[in-house]
């Protein structure tokens, strides 16, 4: 079970420990936690709601993990993405990768985040003082994902 899409919070420390537990060939665990910020494009954000496309979400994350495993030798990979209403400071996403050496673990972790940002069907609705607004996709996310295709 390398991918989870869930409403509940997660324990990043427990996930990191699980990635190397019982695997003494693991030398490098790279991980990422994304959190809700209280500012976005200059506006105060009171909370956000993550909508997703049930059914496609897990499948798309699994395909991204498969692509990472095809590019690098990885011993374990874990992706968790939450949906629903989240407040500033709350965790949104966890990506953790266990490999032999740091280069491939870092690369795979960043690759998964970059693809997730452009391929996984999640959408953020922010609550601001001017009302709710859908977050616009950033061009920098497209270019971050595109660099892996070179």
């Amino acid at each position: 079970m390398s991918v989870s899409v869930q409403q509940e919070d997660f324990d990043a420390g427990a996930e990191i420990a699980a990635l190397s537990a019982g695997r003494r060939e693991v030398g490098a665990v790279a991980s990422f936690v994304g959190l809700v910020r209280d500012v976005s494009h200059g506006a105060h954000v009171g909370a956000m709601t993550l909508e997703h496309y049930p059914g496609m979400t897990e499948r798309s994350l699994e395909e991204i993990v498969d692509q990472a495993r095809a590019r690098w030798t990885l011993y374990a990979v874990r992706v968790i993405h939450r949906f629903g209403r989240l407040e500033p400071g709350e965790q949104i996403v966890f990506v953790g990768v266990a490999g032999a050496h740091r280069g491939e673990s870092f690369a795979a972790c960043e690759f998964i985040m970059d693809y997730l940002k452009t391929q996984a069907p999640f959408w953020k609705l922010e609550e601001t003082p001017d009302g709710a607004r859908w977050v616009d996709a950033r061009e920098s996310d497209d270019s971050a994902a595109a660099r892996w295709e070179q």
């Binding site: 496609m56 798309s60 452009t118 391929q119 069907p121 999640f122 859908w134």
Partner: protein, 84 residues
């Protein structure tokens, strides 16, 4: 000869519609053709019009305008994703 169509996020809001069962008219055999047909319904369906940045999925996989639409498919339209 029907497909299931789903709409998400700001597009769902603009259309006031989360999805529909849709009978494929003749001449609609690709994602692009389906989108053009739907946009042609007039307000508020021009939210699917050519100038709008809308993505599509076919059977829960990202799809291109040239990809086919076949009876029984689940087709989804949505704005660029913003998770992570």
């Amino acid at each position: 000869m029907t497909v299931k169509i789903l709409y998400f996020a700001s597009l769902k809001e603009a259309l006031g519609c989360a999805g529909e069962d849709f009978v494929l008219p003749s001449g609609v055999s690709t994602i692009g053709e389906l989108r053009t047909f739907l946009a042609g319904r007039g307000e508020p369906w021009n939210a699917l019009g050519e100038g709008r940045n809308i993505r599509a999925a076919r059977n829960q996989r990202m799809a291109a305008p040239a990809d086919p639409v076949l009876p029984g498919d689940e087709i989804a339209f949505f704005p660029p994703v913003t998770g992570g």
